[in-house]
Amino acid sequence: MVPTQYYLILSAILFGLGAVAFVVKRNIITIFMSIELMLNAVNLAFVAFSQAKGKLDGQVFVLFVIVVAAAEAAVGLGIIILTARNRRSLNIERVDLLKL
């Protein structure tokens, strides 16, 4: 039996790496992928808590998170296609209309 703390630490590490990737990367698609990485880290924490408490609520929450992530991926990739068509680039530095 693996202690729950190990899963929680792994989840925190993955979330931290996802946050770093979100800030460091310059490609819009990769930034979007790092959001998915953070969602996965949260899912791991949900399942770990569900196992620790012996309740299934956490696993049902994970299903909802996955559904929302799928919807988000569909809309987000649509926006990315639109941006790439308008800006002719996937670099996030080129999308700076709101920058002062």
Partner: protein
């Protein structure tokens, strides 16, 4: 060291290496492949915890549908390796400690507020797929119906966003 612990450390190392590779790779398609490694190893961890249904959904929806969508868009837009941009000094020296602080804070908060819960359930009593479905269609039936509406809206949104502009 018990076999479960060995499997855990193998899968955990695989997922962390995949996440690091996501950051270090320059080409988006390599990042996408590393993310698939992370997702599959997480599915293995779910199996280790006795959550078979979540593991299957993870592989089918995340590793299958969502990542295929990502790879499809990368190919469609013909994405090349990302351009290198220089970071500010503040980001260079403050970034790593801040990231470590975020990770440590999250881990500490989660362990303090619930990680000390004793493992009350035996693995057999937990994670029966039929129990999940019963819960999904009784306790969580309203959120479940709302997600179907959400997906409908997302489909329409994606269609409207990605269609070619009409010539006027």
């Amino acid at each position: 060291m018990s076999p479960a612990l060995i499997v855990f450390f193998l899968l955990a190392a695989l997922s962390v290496i995949g996440a690091l590779s996501l950051i270090l790779q320059k080409h988006p398609i390599h990042s996408a492949l590393s993310l698939i490694v992370v997702m599959v190893s997480l599915a293995g961890l779910y199996l280790l915890m006795g959550a078979e249904f979540v593991a299957a959904v993870q592989i089918i929806v995340y590793g299958g549908a969502i990542m295929v969508l990502f790879v499809f868009v990368i190919m469609l837009l013909n994405a090349s390796a990302e351009e290198h941009t220089s970071f500010s000094k503040l980001a260079k020296f403050g970034g790593l400690p801040l990231a470590l602080a975020l990770t440590g804070l999250l881990a500490a908060a989660m362990i303090r507020n619930g990680g000390a819960v004793p493992n009350s359930a035996t693995p057999d009593a937990l994670a029966k797929t039929s129990d999940i479905s019963l819960m999904l269609f009784s306790t969580f039936v309203y959120p479940f119906e709302l997600t179907s509406f959400l997906i409908l809206v997302a489909i329409m949104g994606a269609l409207v966003l990605a269609q070619r502009e009409k010539k006027t």
